[in-house]
Every structure is written in C-alpha cells, then in structure tokens.
Symmetry: C2
Subunit: 246 residues, 2 copies
C-alpha cells in the first residue's frame, strides 16, 4: 500500500495584503493531484486579506485597558482581542480564553503578534475562513484543473492537555467529520470511535512539516481518504450545552 505523503511547501514569498495565495502556493508546490489536501496556516491568509493591524492605529476602549491590566498584555493587543471576540471564558496572565465571532474557543481570539510582518503589528484570524478556503480551492481548480480539499489551520490550546496542536478553522471540498455512527464492528457492536474530526487530524499532520523554524506556511497531504463536500467548519463547532469536557 502506498504511504500517505505530506509535502512541505517551501519557499513561499512574504505574503502581504493583496497577494494571491493560490499563485504564491502553486509556484512552490509539488505537482498537484486530484484529491490532494492543501493545508494552509491561517496567518498567510490573514496577511493576504489585510487582517494586519498596527498597534498604534487601534483606539483603546476602557474594557481593553482593564483587560490589559488583568492579563499584562498590551492595551492594543487586548483591544483587538475584544473586537474579535463574541465572549470571554476566562482570563489569566498573558491570556484571555475567548469565543470568537466564528465560534472558535481559543487563546486571545487567535490574535497573534509573532511573525506579523514587523514589530507593532498584530494579526487577526481571517473573517470567514470557509469562504477563504472555497475561493482558494476554486482558483486552484481554475488554474490547474485539479480538485483539491483546502483546510485553513490555526494553533489551539486544549482542555486537560499541555501544549498546542493545529486545528482546522476553515474547510472547502472536504467534510470535516468522518461519521461512522450506525456502523458496526466485526462482532456486530456499535463502534466507539464514531465521529472522527478528520479536518483537525489533517491540520495536525500538516503541522508536522510546518515547524516554526522551517517557516513552511502550507503543506500538501496526498493519499488521505475523505468525503469531498462543502459543509464547512461549523460541523466541528460544539454547542456549549453539549460540551462535556468543559
């Protein structure tokens, strides 16, 4: 059996507002094949979509000033975190656990000051990562004739586990869930592993070749099995009432 392969896409130029992500990726990617999964770090999508803020341009609300005192993060950073958040779950030193307007629960609403293209810059998550993924997928099909799945990934902390992993924040051309519910094992018993978050597993797999040091913002995964549809990331977002791990 052929191994599953993960190709780092190396040599992508610095992305700035208006850069064409499909063009920048295609010039550095291996020859694409139908069914390949393209995983892209959200940061370059944000940069291309103009989601970079200068700290000095952000007007600080009283709430952001308060949050700055609570967390030790800069007032401008807190301001952008609040603008990106639909709700706050918890604050601690250096961190606010937020629910973003998209519905993701993560530290500091995904706002990032590292690799932001200069000191004093802050990057927010893409506004609509599913839409970004759909657009990139459509453009790559137009330019190459290849049907890919596209996953936009970001880095998340977890409950109960130390350390971070990458997860999907936008998808196109792939069902983010692989649903085994109703299927049975060899003994006729229901399967326990019924609902695999395949988009998240693919994001984790891509991160293995996208180390910080290597500066690889995208990867191609070849040989993964998935269901090609366009339901979007909402299938992975849990109703708070169903969260048994909180």
């Amino acid at each position: 059996m052929e191994p599953l392969q993960i190709f780092p896409i190396q040599g992508i130029r610095e992305i700035t507002e208006g850069s064409s992500i499909p063009d920048e990726i295609l010039c550095c990617a291996p020859t694409l094949a139908d069914g390949d999964v393209l995983v892209i770090a959200s940061k370059i999508i944000s940069k291309a979509e103009g989601r970079v803020y200068r700290e000095s341009d952000l007007e600080i609300s009283p709430f952001a000033a308060h949050l700055s005192k609570l967390t030790g993060n800069s007032p401008a950073y807190c301001e952008l975190v609040l603008r990106e958040s639909a709700g706050i779950l918890r604050t601690a030193k250096g961190v606010v656990i937020c629910k973003t307007h998209h519905g993701f629960v993560l530290a500091n609403a995904g706002v990032d000051a590292s690799n932001a293209g200069g000191r004093g810059n802050l990057i927010a998550l893409p506004k609509d990562p599913d839409a970004s993924a759909r657009k990139i997928r459509a453009e790559i099909f137009e330019k190459t004739g290849k049907q890919l799945a596209v996953i936009i990934s970001d880095t998340f902390g977890r409950a109960w586990r130390v350390g971070q992993t990458d997860l999907a924040i936008g998808v196109s051309g792939i069902s983010p869930i692989q649903d085994w519910r109703g299927k049975q094992d060899a003994d006729g018993r229901p399967l326990s592993k019924t609902c695999i978050a395949i988009a998240d597993e693919l994001a984790c797999a891509a991160d293995l070749v996208c180390g910080k040091a290597a500066r690889v913002p995208a990867a191609i995964i070849r040989g993964a099995e998935y269901i090609p549809d366009d339901t979007g990331i909402s299938a992975l977002l849990m109703d708070e009432s169903k969260n048994l791990f909180k």
Copy 2:
C-alpha cells in the same frame, strides 16, 4: 525536500493475551529506519497485556449499578469504567467523562466494547502505556538494531469541538512536547506557538491511515522531526489548576 511518509501496517494478526506486539508488527511493517515513529493503537496493546474483561466476570458495585441507571450503559461496563477511574467529571446519556488513574480525561475511562474480540468483552486501557512503549521500543531495537520512537494512541473527545481525534497515551524515545519557549520570530518577538504537543500531532497523523474500516492498528511515520528522549507522557498531562479551557 522529501515528504513525510505514513505507512499503514496492514495484515497484523488478531492479537490475544501474550502475543508479542513487536513480532506481530515487524512481520507486517515496511523495512524500518532509524528515527521512524511507530504509532500503535492502544487496543492491541491492551489485548496483548490481558486487559480484556468478560462482562459476566465483573462483580457489580452499588455505585456501578447507579451509574448504569444514569447513563444507560450496562452495569458491567460501568463497573469497569469505575475501576479505571480516579475521578468522575460528568455523566450524560451513554457517557461518563472520567479522569483515569493515569491522569487522562476521556469518555468512559477509555473502556471499549467495540472490536474487543467478541460480544460481552470489554477492553481497558493499558495499565502503564509508557512502560508498554518502552518495552516495545527496546525489543524492536534488539531485533532490528533500529532506534524508533514509539507512541501508543487512543481516541479522545474534546472540549468545544465536535468529533474525536487520536492522542498519545504512552511514549518512548520521543519528547511529547516540542518546546519553542524563549525562541523568537524574525522580528524578535516571542513566538506564540511555543509548546507543540508533537506526540498528539503524530497520533492524529497516524490515524489518517488507521481508519476503522481498514483495521490498521499501527503505522510508521517517517521523516518527522522530534527530540528523542524518554520523559514519558506526563509532560502532556495538565494540572487541573492550569486548565483554562474547562
């Protein structure tokens, strides 16, 4: 640059108590190379280590009988879940969220009735997955002269996200965390993604070739960068006081 490769290990025989996991894996694996990461589903380790219970052999405690009424799971299933648990976080229909004696927080303490080698069988997690990983790693080195990393994986639900992913429950020959703390980005700012749970990302990646239907209980990952040490899985277990996502 060479792609990272993930080889499913297919054709492994049915594992029973006393089976040699290294022998069963080596006869089906591709030729190994130093640095390969061997990811093994906990279930076959449990079977080899005799962690299979007959429901009819389990004496039901009053608490298990109560939990059975609360969850709808069988009294014997609840009994084994309780024996495996150091604490209970929550109960719902069909599920108890437990902290196991190892310190893992997961549904039903990882006790599983599917693919358990027959109806009426239940499988518990390995007693000491780090020790299992160390033993397998040492035996494979003895038999092949190759230095591998070994990860034992199981399936976990998550807070705030729908669906399950595989995570590491035992490791040997690999630091489960890749620590970027103190390093800086190109602009001299601290990195945001400071502490990557690489063992969990590797477990997710392996699961991409270990689908339920394919019955692949192990995989070899070739080309991953990691720190070869033997600190064990405890580095991934979070103190409850530090859990900001609960």
